[in-house]
Amino acid sequence: MDLMTLLQLLDSSVRLATPLLLACLAGLFSERAGIFDIGLEGKMLVAAFVSAGVAYVSGNVWVGLLAGIGASLVLSGIHGLASISFRGNQLISGVAINFLAAGLTVVVAQSWFGEGGRTPQLAGAARFDPITLPGAEAMRDVPVIGPIYYELISGHTILVYVALLLVPLTAWLLFSTRFGLRLRAVGENPAALDTAGVSVVRMRFAAVAICGVLCGIAGAYLSTALQAGFVKDMTAGRGYIALAALIFAKWRPWYALMACMLFGFLQALSLRPDLLETALHFKIQVQLLDALPYILTVVILAGFVGKAIPPRAGGEPYVKER
């Protein structure tokens, strides 16, 4: 395998890992605060649809992005209302959101655009274009470093860089600020936080809202940066892979980056069965590579490689007095 092929493979990994990373960080905020969120998939789907639809109508992708985030926040609000205010079952609420998103996007798209549950193709300013980082063209011919910078690091859409910057930001927010301490506490022992005079409900709603914003960016990335329009069910299970990555990462931001990059790399590798065959000298089933993220997660959950301990108060609605 030569350098160019490797770079193309890694380039593809970064593109595929970005929506996973955004959704994984979204889940991290929510679950660290004690709210399990199966509904990442649904929120991404709705955001993908709304951002593509609004970007098409307004002709401005930034307006689309904001609308997508808004739509995702509405679903987050519903999830928060059901699981925080009304103390409902968080898993059921999440599943309901996924179903709602899968149906609603197609129905609204059909009545809005009449194209069979799709949005029209986006063009020009209604799409995020890849940006070339400064100096990339000039450095292109420098051996080794040049191609790495030009092919791998430069030439992604802005949302990719946003997603990568969110990792240190999340780590800082969670582990170096008062807000982060409270957010982690509300997922471990909400009663202690309540005793200290901090509103559990407000903390949890804040976490769920951050989750909504990140899912909104992830969805917009799918339909306006990677693609040029919405197609029904276009998230294709990425929300669930992100959940698997979250467990794999043991609810930590830097590990989340590594887990998502690994899963992205496995997905990219499954697109190039020819490379594996030349490297290993036997044919490996593509389906095995596709299933590998889930297999790895099961291995982690089974406790073979370290132990994944979820936040202690996760999944339990907080009741002040029993």
């Binding site: 160019m4 593109r15 069979g116 549950g117 799709r118 693609q227 197609v231 069910d233 294709a236 190039r272």
Partner: protein, 331 residues
């Protein structure tokens, strides 16, 4: 036949007295909806053409869920609609249940064979149409490498890929065909993101023409091909207009002709298996203003000659589904 006509007349009178439509044809669209820019829309186009030309009317319904298949069939049959056309292989099981209960109603199913005396099963020779667009790809490719991206890995899609590869090799025996399937679950029909990445992966392997037979996933394939300045080939309906000047051609599956013919024949529609191939214009390739500049006169002449040879039987394209093997491509 006269007995049949009397009998049909009697049922028609019954139907009239019940206030239902008099043997109007009915059409049921599959879950994609009738404006899917592809299969169902093509069927709708055929029905509309029939209605405009004859001044007749037809009943229609768009399914919202799998559970409605049998219900929709029975409702139209009870109402006296004849024939009842359904677009999509997924109706196979439901029709197998229902057909026997309404022996006097004719059913037309597209893309599936249902063995019943009152059913007309329309199947398409997709391998022949794919062969023709494969020839165009082989001639249009400058790198000598072309790609195929299938949706869900099922024999029907391998049939597309196999015909395509044969066409490519016929036009350029030294050509290389890179084939990928999007997945093994129905999600593979609607994953344009993966379609895009597969396209980029094939481009990095040297492909400069990519044929997508992958439903909604194909939208991503065509988009990425246009963004990367390579050529793509659409499927089912004419998709040349999606990226004018960048879609080489489209493999046409004339579902509209199948629907039109069935509705024109009305209650007398001939039952049994009806094969739509190159010979009876059931499949073909698209040439319009959007891709005229991409097709040279030599290419057009070569493909027209191949189509004529397939039509008169002197050229036989291997059908993957006949023996689950492909001489030109390994999956």
């Amino acid at each position: 036949m006269t007995f049949m006509k009397k009998f049909l007349g009697a049922t028609a009178v019954l139907a009239l007295s019940a206030g239902a439509a008099l043997a109007d044809p009915a059409i049921i669209f599959d879950l994609g909806g009738k404006f899917d820019k592809s299969f169902n829309e093509s069927a709708f186009g055929g029905a509309t053409r029939w209605a405009e030309e004859t001044g007749g009317t037809f009943a229609e319904v768009e399914l919202q869920s799998d559970a409605q298949r049998e219900q929709a069939l029975r409702r139209f049959a009870e109402a006296g609609n004849n024939p009842i056309v359904m677009a999509g292989f997924a109706f196979g099981t439901a029709l197998g249940e229902v057909a026997g209960d309404y022996p006097d109603t004719k059913f037309v199913i597209i893309d599936m064979v249902v063995d019943a005396p009152n059913v007309r099963s329309v199947v398409f020779n997709e391998h022949e149409g794919s062969y023709l667009v494969g020839m165009l790809a082989g001639m249009a490719s400058k790198s000598g490498t072309v790609g195929f991206i299938g949706g869900m890995d099922i024999p029907l899609i391998r049939k597309f890929g196999c015909g395509y590869a044969q066409g490519v090799l016929a036009a350029n025996p030294d050509a290389k065909v890179v084939a990928n399937m999007t997945g093994t679950t129905p999600a593979a029909w609607n994953d344009p993101v993966k379609g895009s990445e597969l396209t980029l992966a094939q481009i990095s392997q040297g492909a400069d023409v990519v044929y997508a037979a992958a439903g909604g996933t194909g939208v991503g394939v065509l988009q990425t091909a246009a963004d990367s300045n390579i050529l793509s080939i659409g499927v089912d309906a004419n998709q040349n207009y999606l990226h004018p000047g960048q879609v080489l051609t489209s493999m046409l599956k004339r579902v509209d002709n199948a629907v039109y013919e069935a509705m024109t024949a009305g209650p007398d529609v001939v039952t049994g298996i009806n094969v739509m191939g190159v010979a009876n214009e059931g499949v073909g390739w698209a040439l319009d203003d959007n891709n005229r500049s991409l097709i040279t006169p030599e290419m057009e002449a070569a493909v027209t000659a191949a189509a004529a040879a397939i039509a008169d039987g002197s050229l036989v394209v291997h059908d993957y589904t006949s023996d689950e093997t492909c001489p030109a491509l390994t999956f």
